[in-house]
């Protein structure tokens, strides 16, 4: 079991190689793609070898057990067979891409996407959990978008790739909803468990909505009518990509999904009518569209549509006979469609055209590619004894057993498709003409097309001997009768008669189709679904643009006003709903001081609002900050007061510098009533919020925990500091990391400007110089003292670092000779890196003594305690200091011309 999964994981190797070492892929395209192909081929052989006598197995790991989401995989003869096909054809496609795109700069990306695509498709096939299957399903959609959009420099290609993506993703979203409903109905999301309920009548009561949602996902993926339009459009991708999408992956995911669940869901009355109708309509559409195509690849895309339609019909029947037909049809189609597309790519490269008219007699001119093409096209037409013939036979047999009417319509549709096959093949077989090859192809491309064509022949030869062990076993695992086998000759059955009739009729169809001047489609048959889809997408776009234009007026004030008003309204509704009560006045709070301070705060805020000069603005902002600091102090928060004071000082320092340097005036706008109203409403809301919060009776379990354990567990009397460096240290680590990133961001933003002096004033004043030096000389030791006492008294890493930064700011103001720009830049970086390192190191140290991450390690000596939290605080100190220097250094007057 696990070895099988290992072989499915082999494409990871080239995927990693292409992602990590793209240069190697570019310089040795053939070698690397050859290696990737060899690995995938090995995986295919390993998978293939497991098919005979494989006991169904399942392996799962919990993922989100509460929701029934498991990382679960299943393996039986059918999934192993299909996985082997995907890997084998993937090998050919990768080999072909190495030649087809050898000169492309994007080859590594394509190789990575192809390998990733193979893995995603294998995931779809092997997933047991429906949710897991959905994830892989969406991955195939996304990766196919990247692959189809390979020539992204062309607008047409981008549009078509986006169309394919949108259709399949919209379907995928529906499918997810369907999966959830299915899971709820059946009580399990495991495919293996779901299938055990086949035939017990549970499926009949599944809601029709759930069924339709599931089918929407499968129909969009498999390009079933009416979502068929994206597949021919996806032809804009390179030939190997088309070969892979059409043969074994992507579109096959949809029919695979339907066939897997068919034994179960065909118990629902709507399943068979819905699915078979969609299938037949798809075939009809494909024939009508293909009849008018002259482009080789587009014509091939139409035959893919038709084949998908037939497979959908079989999945729709869901009978054991239909499952038998499904397996042989799927195999035959995968084996002939891949070489057809690869050969089409070769012909295009060789002769420089994809038009049928320009390729007349191409088989003669390019014999090996031509051989691959001819064998595959004959299999498509269903010439006995090629696998395509078997596919058609079993298809007709299954439909006849269900309803002769369905069998006749299927045969008629098949005649149309066979006509398309003749239209495809006969011109190329013309021996009278011989187009001139314009280019020689690398061997790998010819080989890549030839190998699956030889696989077709190999299947024919080996089928009689191995049918029970391989293909039959796969069919049995999918739901066909036990010990299934495939035979070429069934006797003179109605199915054989219908098949022969279809073949004869197809010649007549071909005579009609061959005419290049075929009349255009009548109005009633004109495609309507694609325009409808495009119009819907366009309407959504217009709606979005309109809403954007309305909300984004191009002025930040208006945009933010709308947002603030919306948030405020929501908050107001919430507040209003809550019970209202006024907070009780605390007598001990000392009102008198506040009767004085509140008006000062109001005045400062008003001045900051209306300041006309930079100086007024700075002074008023300074006052606001100072009053906030006093408030913190008044309400028993000395740590906050200190931090606020220092941060405010540094902030004003920076602000003054920037305003002076940029010459921006403090205010330029006149009074605006709208702004004032929004602001007043917001302010009122904040007031209500504060009143409400203060009136509430809080429960403080976390604070109580901190207060109880601060002294005993963390040996600190200053609980605020203990919380920062011990209890919640990991938050603090994140915070200083953010600070470091902000400083690096500032360096990036000002990179070009860092040589310039932006010091606001160039003071030569001896008074200021002396005073600043004296103050700095005082501040630095104070900073260290604050740091040291932080754990047991107001202080700590943040505060002391801000004090030190203020001292350095003062020195910068008077041009201290030792503080040049280059030195500051290095110091800032080193301090931040060192600080983060120390902080992280203090968190990692406990791991070495077998304790949890971030546990404090302590060393005691009597009443003296030393521990890793102090080390962590040192990390905080260094990082914050480095961060402040990172900003302050931009204010350095420039004396050294170098950095």
């Amino acid at each position: 079991m696990s070895e099988a999964f290992l072989s499915a994981l082999l494409p990871v190797v080239p995927l990693a190689l292409a992602l990590l070492w793209p240069g190697l892929v570019r310089s040795r395209p053939q070698w690397i793609t050859g290696l990737a192909a060899a690995l995938m081929a090995a995986g295919s052989v390993a998978m293939f070898a497991r098919v005979p006598g494989l006991e169904p197995a399942r392996q799962s790991w919990d993922w989100v057990p509460q929701l029934g989401v498991e990382f679960a995989f299943r393996l039986d003869s059918f999934t192993a067979w299909f996985a082997a096909l995907v890997l084998g054809l993937g090998a050919c496609v990768v080999l072909h891409a190495g030649g087809y795109l050898a000169k492309s700069r994007h080859l590594p990306g394509v190789l990575a996407a192809l390998c990733g695509f193979t893995l995603a498709m294998l995931g779809v096939i092997l997933s047991d959990n429906l949710y897991l299957l959905f994830l892989f399903w969406e991955a195939t959609s996304l990766l196919s978008f990247l692959l189809v959009g390979f020539h992204h420099e062309k607008e047409e290609v981008r549009e078509k790739a986006a169309q394919a993506l949108l259709v399949t993703l919209a379907g995928g979203a529906c499918m997810l909803a369907g999966i959830v409903l299915t899971h709820l109905h059946f009580g399990t999301a495991s495919i293996v468990e779901l299938l055990t309920m086949a035939g017990d009548g549970t499926a009949a009561t599944l809601s029709s909505g759930a069924l339709v949602l599931l089918l929407l996902g499968a129909f969009t993926k498999s390009a079933q009518w009416p979502f068929h339009f994206w597949l021919p459009n996806a032809m804009v991708g390179p030939a190997p990509v088309s070969a892979f999408l059409h043969s074994a992956t992507m579109v096959k995911a949809g029919v695979f999904f339907m066939a897997t669940l068919a034994p179960l869901l065909s118990g629902h009355p709507l399943w068979t009518p819905l699915v078979t109708t969609a299938g037949l309509l798809t075939v009809a559409t494909a024939v009508l569209r293909g009849a008018r195509e002259q482009d080789l690849k587009a014509l091939l895309a139409c035959t893919t549509l038709a084949a998908l339609g037939f497979l959908t019909v079989l999945a729709g029947l869901g009978t054991p006979a239909a499952m038998l037909g499904f397996v042989i049809f799927l195999t035959a189609h995968a084996l002939y469609k891949a070489p057809l597309f690869l050969a089409a790519g070769n012909l295009e490269k060789t002769f420089g055209t994809r038009q049928l008219g320009g390729l007349v007699g191409a088989v003669k001119a390019a014999p090996f590619t031509g051989l691959a093409f001819a064998v595959s096209a004959l299999s498509l037409i269903g010439l006995a004894p090629l696998p395509g013939f078997l596919g058609k036979e079993y298809l007709l047999k299954a439909t006849w057993a269900y309803s002769p009417l369905l069998a006749v319509s299927t045969a008629l549709a098949a005649a149309g498709v066979l006509g398309l096959g003749l239209k495809l093949l006969l011109p190329l077989l013309d021996w009278r003409q011989r187009p001139e090859p314009k280019k020689r192809l690398p061997l790998s491309m010819t080989l890549a097309a030839l190998i699956p064509a030889l696989g077709t022949l190999g299947l024919v030869i080996s089928l009689p001997a191995t049918t029970h062990e391989f293909l039959g076993a796969a069919a049995t695992a999918l739901g066909a009768p036990a010990d299934a086998a495939f035979k070429f000759w069934h006797g003179w059955t109605p199915a054989f008669g219908l098949g022969m009739g279809a073949l004869l009729l197809s010649v007549a169809v071909w005579r009609v189709l061959i005419r290049p001047d075929l009349a255009p489609l009548p109005d009633s048959l004109q495609p309507i679904f694609e325009p409808a889809f495009n119009n819907t997408v366009q309407a959504i776009r217009t709606l979005g643009t309109g809403a954007g234009r309305w909300l984004e007026a191009g002025r930040p004030g208006v945009q933010m006003g709308i947002m603030i008003a919306a948030i405020g309204l929501l908050a107001f509704i919430g507040l209003d709903a809550a019970e209202w009560s006024f907070p009780e006045s605390d007598a001990s709070a000392g009102t008198s001081v506040w009767l004085l301070l509140a008006p000062v705060a109001a005045l400062a805020a008003f001045l900051a609002c209306t300041a006309r000069t930079t100086l007024t603005l700075l002074v008023s902002l300074g006052f606001v900050g100072l009053i906030v600091a006093l408030l913190f102090l008044w309400f028993s928060a000395p740590d906050l007061a200190l931090t606020q004071l220092m941060a405010e000082t540094l902030l004003l320092f920076l602000l003054a510098g920037v305003l002076k340097k940029t010459g921006v005036e403090a205010t330029t706008s006149s009074f605006s009533l709208g702004r004032a109203l929004v602001a007043l409403a917001g302010g009122l809301l904040v007031t209500m919020l504060v009143l409400k919060a203060m009136a509430l009776e809080w429960d403080h379990p976390i604070s109580d925990f901190h207060l109880t354990h601060s002294k005993s567990a963390a040996y600190g009397a200053n609980v605020v500091n203990v919380i920062l460096v011990d209890f919640r240290a990991i938050d603090t680590l994140g915070e200083i990391l953010v600070l470091a990133i902000a400083a690096l961001g500032a360096t990036a933003a000002l990179g070009a400007a860092r040589r310039r002096s932006i010091l606001p004033f160039d003071s030569e004043s001896p008074w200021l110089g002396t005073a600043a030096r004296g103050l700095a000389a005082f501040c630095l030791p104070v900073s260290l003292w604050l740091f040291w006492r932080g754990h047991n008294a107001p202080g700590g890493g943040f505060i002391s670092a801000l004090v030190a930064a203020t001292a350095l700011g003062l020195l910068l103001l008077v041009r201290h000779p030792r503080l040049d720009a280059r030195r500051l830049r290095h110091a800032s970086l080193r301090l931040m890196v060192g600080g983060l390192g120390v902080a992280l190191g203090s968190a990692l140290l406990p791991l070495f003594s077998g304790k949890e991450f971030f546990t404090g390690l302590w060393w005691h000596s009597g009443d003296f305690h030393l521990g890793t939290p102090l080390l962590f605080d040192l990390g905080v100190y260094l990082t914050v200091l480095g961060f402040c220097l990172g900003f302050l250094r931009h204010f350095q007057p420039n004396r050294t011309s170098a950095l």
Partner: protein, 97 residues
């Protein structure tokens, strides 16, 4: 007293919002500074305010203040300072013509 404090915080927020909605870069900057002060105070006030309560744990002293909002506000002040400093460099950069 709580009402007076709440009104003061509301006024700070009003001033901040008014500046924030203004047309110029400096408006946005000053608005964010004021709004940041108001936000810190809201957080601080919602934790419950006590005058003259001990800030440290000492034997034989009264029940100390709630340390949790203080720790939150302390980091908020520093982060707010970081954001404004970063915005200042952006203002500086955008005036580099």
């Amino acid at each position: 007293m709580p009402v007076l404090l709440a009104i003061t915080i509301g006024l700070l927020a009003t001033a901040g919002l008014y500046r924030l909605l203004g047309p110029s870069r400096i408006d946005a900057l000053v608005g964010l500074i004021l709004l940041g002060q108001a936000a810190n105070l809201v957080l601080f006030a919602s934790g419950g305010l006590r005058h003259n309560a001990p800030a440290l744990i000492e034997k034989g002293m009264a029940v100390p203040t709630d340390p949790l909002p203080q720790a939150l506000v302390l980091t908020a002040i520093v982060i707010g300072f970081g954001i404004i400093a970063f915005l200042l460099t952006l203002v500086l950069r955008s005036s580099d013509k």
